[in-house]
């Protein structure tokens, strides 16, 4: 059974005359990790800040767990937890006091729950130290603990992997996946890195210049990018290689250069291409897969028909 936890309808926001968010609508279900993908400045943080009460939307509706944010602000916000950019805690207070202060603003958060959440993020041993003695990673753990204290139905993390080391990123990923898949929390994560999204998310919304270009499952995205990918064949004889490949892969031949040629081809055909070129005596220095850019990916996803000026 799927519950819609976050509903966004026709959301609009301008700063001055500049339109930052232009009629964005999407839903997030319970139990999924939802990625919010787009280049810097696309409007990811602005959208999430409107959901978290920092900014007032100029138009549109935000419904959290069935409650409209405008009319039932406190009830709606009660089922939301989140971190914007870096968690900012009170430096002169201990981690425990920070958590307690935050717990006081929610109903039904016990001391046991504080310890439970602290254990979940691995901070139970250092709760009584002052926050200013924590490392950035530790602050982020306390921030996450704070966001989870009141068992939110919707967890929003804006660029959560910023400043984390690879081990930290993996740990965060595991925690988020467990929250979504075992505790049925709807998790929204924003990022500008597709690779990160691919490892973490179930669905991804792609946003560019304030407009939503589409929402796809991560499987759809990766399938598509697996089907046709651009490979760069490194060879000094690019022109000759192009002639050899033209009969079979003519439509996939891209740019020719001194280093070699780009070829758009299904991944499972790559061995055949290499074999063919080798047989014809072309000198091969290597074949690299070009990372398909974000725009390429969503152009593919959305059929390439969108004008993204």
């Amino acid at each position: 059974m799927m519950d819609t936890i976050l509903q966004i309808r026709q959301l609009e926001k301008s700063f001055g005359r500049r339109k930052i968010i232009d009629k964005i609508s999407f839903d997030v279900q319970a139990g999924e990790v939802f990625g919010f993908l787009g280049p810097n400045g696309a409007g990811k943080t602005t959208t999430l800040k409107m959901v978290m009460g920092f900014l007032q939307p100029d138009g549109g509706d935000i419904v959290i767990n069935g409650f409209d944010l405008k009319r039932h602000y406190e009830t709606a916000m009660g089922s939301l937890g989140g971190i914007v950019e870096n968690p900012e805690l009170y430096q002169d207070l201990s981690g425990r006091v920070n958590l307690k202060m935050y717990a006081r603003l929610h109903d039904g958060v016990t001391n046991d729950r504080i310890m439970e959440v602290a254990a979940m993020v691995g901070m139970q041993g250092r709760l009584d130290e002052k926050v200013k003695k924590y490392s950035l990673g530790m602050k982020q753990r306390i921030g996450l603990a704070q966001a989870l204290l009141h068992r939110p139905k919707l967890l929003i993390l804006d660029e959560p992997t910023n400043g984390l080391d690879p081990a930290g990123i993996r740990e965060l990923r595991d925690i988020l996946k467990r929250l979504a898949h075992e505790e049925h929390v709807a998790v929204v994560v924003s990022s500008h890195l597709l690779s990160e999204m691919q490892l973490m998310c179930d669905r991804v919304a792609i946003i560019h210049l304030g407009r939503l270009l589409g929402v796809r499952t991560i499987r759809e995205l990766t399938d598509l990018s697996r089907q046709t990918t651009v490979y760069r064949i490194l060879t000094p004889e690019a022109q000759a290689a192009a002639e050899i490949l033209r009969p079979a892969y003519g439509e996939g031949i891209g740019e020719l250069s001194e280093q070699g040629l780009d070829l758009e081809v299904a991944t499972d055909r790559v061995p055949a291409v290499i074999r063919l070129l080798a047989m014809k005596g072309v000198d091969l220095y290597g074949v690299t897969r070009l990372e398909s850019s974000l725009e390429d990916a969503f152009l593919q996803v959305t059929g390439g028909g969108l004008n993204i000026e």
């Binding site: 800040k49 978290m52 937890g81 914007v84 900012e88 009170y90």
Partner: protein
């Protein structure tokens, strides 16, 4: 409501961890204790000086001898000058010299009289000095009568001479016996002959009675400050006379016609004065009392100054600092509406200022009590509709600190509003401090403005609440209210309403800006 309480608790935790708060409170306590210590030190210096004087009893006697010699020399030179002058030449100059000679002779006879009866003219203050001042007048009067040519003498001439002579010998007896009661009776007997109206004689008789009740030794015992007693009684006479004749003799511009308002004021002043006399709490001009009072007023002034500084720093950073560090984020994301966050901030600031004020009060009362004695504080005596009452020292000091606290609230609102609107701690604290320091300056300039209507809508007019709440206080000048000895242009109620409107306007501006503007 629960949410506001929770937010309030959080705010108090945050404020309690602020270093600026601890530092300023520590400075405040040190300063307050230090000021009291300074006053105590000066008082002990003064006492030592007095004691040193006391150990040399001869200085006054020597001074008298010196003065006597000086006056004798002057007498000689004056007589020489008068003798050398041509009696017909310069009338004015001759007259002036003769006048001077009379004065010098009078001084000589006074000093001689004092030496004869062993009265210290320069180091003692008692009714004996008055007698010594009075006797030369009687002699002069007798001389005048005796000098009258027989054909100009009135019918009761002999009688008049007898009366003067009788008074003379009576006053000499008083000098001999040193009995204050005899002196009072003597003055009382002389009243009908003074040419005063019956009503004035009554007032004078009241004065004599009160004098004897206040200080039965007439200044001889040293229990009461002789000059102070006389000053209080003179003040009472001028109040009584003003009310009786419906002419204001107490005004600094000389006698002016009485208005009904002024009459009611004087009535209250008289009630206060009578209450003081009756309960033997005279105003604070005695030297011991003045150090104790100065200590209290400087402690209160400095303490409240520090409270204002602290509150400007706290309120000026209340919102902007959280925005600068980003810690506002965890507040915004919590399920509480923004007006509740704002309300909790306001409540915490108000209660911190109140706690600081009460802490100041306790430190003040304790320091003052330990240094000057716990019973040395002056009560506040007031009157309305001619009925006097008193507030004990402890309650009066608490009440006056709380009155000062009202104007602190206005500055909290100002700093908080600037903090929200500018979102810049430095600007908020800087501007509000500039206004705080500036308002005293502007306030003292406003004193010179004509009493026109628009002046009362200038906010600075209304910060000096203290003299309005406690119009009968001796001295109302202080740091926070700005010294304001003039009578206020507006009533207390108007000022309070004005400040309330000011508070609401600033509070609403801040609240509106905080709840509506985006936090990026």
């Amino acid at each position: 409501m629960n949410k506001i309480i929770a937010l309030y608790q959080n705010e108090m935790i945050k404020i309690s961890k602020k270093i600026s708060l601890v530092v300023i409170l520590a400075l405040m306590i040190c300063g307050v204790v230090g000021l009291a210590g300074l006053m105590k030190f000066q008082q002990s210096q003064q006492e030592r000086y007095r004691n040193e004087q006391g150990r040399e009893p001869d200085w006054a006697a020597e001074e008298m001898k010196y003065q006597l010699d000086m006056f004798h020399e002057q007498e000689d030179s004056l007589t020489a000058q008068i003798d050398a002058m041509d009696p017909d030449a310069d009338d004015d100059r001759l007259f002036g010299l003769e006048e001077e000679l009379r004065y010098v002779r009078r001084q000589i006879s006074q000093i001689e009289l004092a030496m004869e009866y062993d009265v210290g003219l320069y180091d003692e203050q008692s009714f004996l000095n008055d007698v010594i001042n009075l006797l030369p007048d009687l002699w002069a009067e007798e001389q005048r009568l005796q000098a009258l040519p027989p054909e100009l003498r009135p019918a009761d001439w002999a009688e008049q001479v007898a009366v003067v002579q009788q008074e003379e010998s009576a006053y000499r007896e008083v000098l001999e016996s040193r009995d204050f009661h005899d002196y009072i009776e003597l003055v009382r007997q002389g009243l009908p002959r003074s040419g005063m109206t019956d009503a004035m004689i009554l007032i004078e008789q009241e004065r004599l009675d009160l004098w004897y009740t206040l200080d039965p030794s007439g200044g001889m015992s040293g229990d009461m400050d002789y000059n102070q007693v006389r000053m209080v009684l003179d003040q009472r006479v001028s109040l009584r006379r003003s009310m009786l004749e419906r002419i204001d003799y107490t005004s600094s511009q000389g006698p002016v016609p009485m208005t009904p308002d002024r009459y009611a004021e004087l009535e209250n002043q008289l009630a206060v004065l009578d209450y003081r006399i009756e309960n033997n709490v005279l105003s604070s001009s005695s030297y011991e009392q003045s150090f104790s009072d100065m200590a209290v007023s400087s402690m209160a002034g400095f303490g409240m100054f520090m409270v204002v500084m602290m509150m400007l720093i706290l309120a000026g950073g209340a919102i902007s600092q959280e925005m600068a560090t980003g810690s506002i984020k965890s507040l915004i994301i919590a399920p509480v509406r923004r007006w509740k966050i704002f309300t909790a901030k306001v409540l915490s600031l108000v209660s911190v200022s109140l706690i600081a004020t009460i802490l100041l009060y306790l430190v003040m009362i304790l320091t003052h009590g330990l240094m000057f004695g716990f019973s040395s504080g002056q009560p506040y005596i007031f009157a309305s509709h001619g009925q006097a009452g008193a507030l004990s020292f402890a309650i009066y000091q608490l009440a006056s600190l709380l009155v000062r606290w009202i104007s602190v609230l206005v500055f909290i609102a100002l700093a908080l509003m600037l903090s929200v609107v500018t979102r810049n701690t430095a600007a908020a604290v800087g501007i509000s401090m500039a206004i705080f320091f500036g308002h005293q300056l502007i306030g003292s300039f406003l004193m010179f403005l004509p009493r026109s209507e628009w002046v009362k809508f200038i906010p600075f007019e209304h910060f000096s609440l203290l003299p309005r709440f406690f119009p009968f206080a001796d001295s109302g000048g202080s740091f926070i209210t700005g010294a304001m000895s003039q009578t206020p242009r507006t009533t207390l109620l108007f000022s309070l309403l004005y400040l309330l409107v000011l508070l609401i306007c600033m509070g609403y501006t801040a609240l509106d800006s905080f709840s509506r503007r985006d936090i990026k």
